[in-house]
């Protein structure tokens, strides 16, 4: 199907014919009504679609490289895996559009409406998104390195694990957005508004956050090494585990910070402590971490014990535990080291469990409610795992040995074991 004219193409689309895989390279369909057009895998490279109505169109895997799409209406369209490299999409309406895994490298989306659009894994390196509306858009794992996002409105948008190194976010509104584990290395975010945003483990190293609003933001375990924070607003930010700037702060606007590991406001710090938290935050936290760290060394044997570790504690076991119950708090890190063996044991609670050694359950389920279960190449687990309410995250390295049954939460027999008083006297080897 080569080289359709505008009239032929319009006639066939209006008849409801599918133009999947059609060769429409360079075609002029400007201002055309193309609602629900079937154009999957079509070649529209260099096409002129200015002002066209492509709402709800099927454009999956289509090629629109360097296409002229200014003011186009693509609401509800499916552009999954489409190639839009270098496309001109200024002021385009892409509300609710599916652009998952689409290639938008170098595309111009200035002033576009991308509210609620799905852009997971999309390639947006060097794209221009100035003034775009990204409210509630999903950009998880998207690549936005060196992209221009100045003045975007992205309240409630999700950027978790996105790569945004060197991007420009000046004056961007990211209130309540989720940027967990995103890479914002060297980002320019002067006067950007991150109020109430989730920035857990976000990498802001070398970022320019001058005048940025980070009040009530969750920046636990975020990295701010060499970041500029002069004039930033930080009151109420959750900062446990934060890696500080290592630079003088200049004048900042902050009344208190929340140092509690769970980010629940139970450890407020004010005035004198704040500069050290933000500049050498890691040192401050290390002291706290060491206090909360438990290590059970090789050669120790613990039998018939019940242990409880509170939220945020770090526990490493290189000992032999037999017939023990371990109750862990929310996000407690429990590491069974390479020499650790937990035989006839159970682990209960919403912790992060890493197994380099061996775990054998006492009764089923032996692991209840873990947030994450990771087994390394040398690790072995023999257990039923009752998932947490939010579904347990699993990671298995090639080489691990597993006899694992995974069951959903709340199945019979998966109730957390009765919480016993911790036998802290038996917590030996405390570092």
């Amino acid at each position: 199907m080569a080289g359709l004219s505008r009239d032929e193409a319009l006639k066939r689309i209006q008849k409801g014919e599918k133009l999947d895989r059609a060769d429409l390279k360079g075609i002029d369909l400007s201002q055309a009504k193309l609602v629900k057009a079937a154009l999957e895998r079509a070649d529209l490279d260099g096409a002129n679609l200015e002002g066209a109505d492509l709402s709800n169109a099927a454009l999956r895997r289509s090629s629109l490289r360097e296409a002229y799409l200014v003011g186009v209406n693509l609401t509800g369209a499916n552009l999954e895996n489409a190639d839009l490299e270098g496309a001109k999409l200024e002021r385009a309406n892409l509300a609710g559009t599916n652009l998952t895994r689409a290639n938008l490298e170098g595309a111009n989306l200035t002033g576009a409406n991308l509210s609620g659009a799905m852009l997971s894994y999309a390639q947006l390196t060097g794209a221009k998104l100035g003034g775009a509306n990204l409210a509630d858009a999903v950009l998880t794992h998207a690549e936005l390195d060196e992209a221009y996002l100045g003045g975007v409105s992205a309240a409630g948008a999700r950027f978790s694990n996105a790569s945004m190194a060197g991007a420009n976010l000046e004056d961007a509104i990211l209130r309540g957005a989720v940027l967990d584990e995103a890479v914002l290395h060297r980002v320019i975010a002067r006067n950007a508004d991150f109020t109430g945003a989730s920035l857990v483990k976000t990498n802001f190293s070398g970022a320019d956050l001058t005048g940025a609003k980070l009040g009530d933001a969750d920046v636990r375990h975020a990295t701010f090494a060499r970041a500029q924070l002069a004039g930033a607003h930080l009151t109420g930010a959750k900062v446990a585990g934060l890696v500080g700037t290592g630079l003088p702060l200049g004048t900042i606007d902050v009344t208190w910070l929340d140092l509690s590991p769970a980010g629940d406001g139970t450890q407020r710090v004010e005035n004198g402590v704040i500069p050290s938290v933000l500049t050498v935050g890691a040192v401050t936290q290390t002291v706290a971490d060491q206090v909360r760290r438990r290590y059970f060394g090789r050669g120790d044997v613990l039998r018939n014990a019940t242990l409880a570790f509170d939220a945020g504690a770090q526990v490493e076991i290189d000992s032999l535990f037999q017939n023990c119950t371990i109750n862990v708090g929310v996000e407690t890190e429990l590491v069974i080291g390479p020499s650790g063996v937990l035989a006839d044991c159970e682990i209960v609670g919403a912790g992060f469990i890493t197994v380099h050694g061996k775990f054998f359950e006492r009764h089923s389920p032996g692991i209840v409610g873990a947030r994450k279960l990771m087994v390394s190449a040398r690790g072995a687990v023999v257990s039923t795992v009752a998932q947490s309410d939010e579904a347990t995250g699993f990671a298995f390295e090639s080489g691990c040995q597993l006899r694992v049954k995974i069951i959903p939460p709340g199945q019979p027999g998966t109730q957390p074991a009765a919480k016993h008083e911790p036998r802290t006297s038996q917590e030996r080897g405390n570092r």
Binding site: R298, Q322, M374, S398
Partner: protein, 177 residues
């Protein structure tokens, strides 16, 4: 030969998206499932793409799935992301599932399923090894600094500080010239 996404570029059996196959499939070349396959599948390698679904008994040497799996899987090596449905059993020599969803990474949603991977761990042997005295010259294991897993696991004990280095640190030994 495979492309950037790991799919074979050479001769392969392809179940395209939108295609549903029911029955027994046996192939001597790699199988790529973008649609839906229900039944028994046998071949050297099977790739299930994000849009693919395989439900049934799968016997292959190597399985890579980013789609949906259900039923029984027997393979030498299994690499999965995507979704594992309820009542699925995976038996393999090796299984790889990554938690950190970085570029090109994977994430799996597990339904109710069973995983039998590698040799069966031996509890008695593990306990005996833990009770055995450390080998002469072996240093005691030290706590790991690798806090966030999902990355490469394994925590090497830091090398013991040499006596000289220790003295230098204490200021009792001049630095080497």
């Amino acid at each position: 030969m495979s492309d950037k996404s790991g799919l074979p570029t050479g001769k392969h059996t392809l179940v395209e998206e939108g295609t549903e196959f029911k029955g027994t499939m046996s192939s001597s070349c790699p199988i790529v499932v973008m649609g839906k396959v229900e039944g028994d599948v046998a071949g050297p390698v099977i790739h299930v793409t994000p849009s693919g679904v395989v439900a049934g008994v799968v016997k292959v040497k190597s399985l890579h799935s980013a789609g949906e799996l259900a039923g029984e899987v027997e393979a030498e090596t299994v690499q999965i992301s995507g979704r594992v449905r309820d009542r699925t059993v995976i038996r393999a020599r090796s299984l790889e599932v990554s938690l950190n969803v970085q570029k090109g990474g994977m994430q799996v949603v597990f339904g109710e399923c069973e995983l039998a991977i590698g040799d069966e761990p031996n509890k008695e042997a593990a306990v005996a090894a833990a009770l055995a005295p450390p080998a002469p010259g072996a240093t005691a294991a030290a706590p790991s600094d690798a806090k966030q897993a999902g990355g490469k696991a394994g925590s090497a004990a830091p090398a013991a500080e040499s006596e000289e280095a220790s003295k230098r640190r204490r200021g009792t030994q001049p630095p080497p010239s």
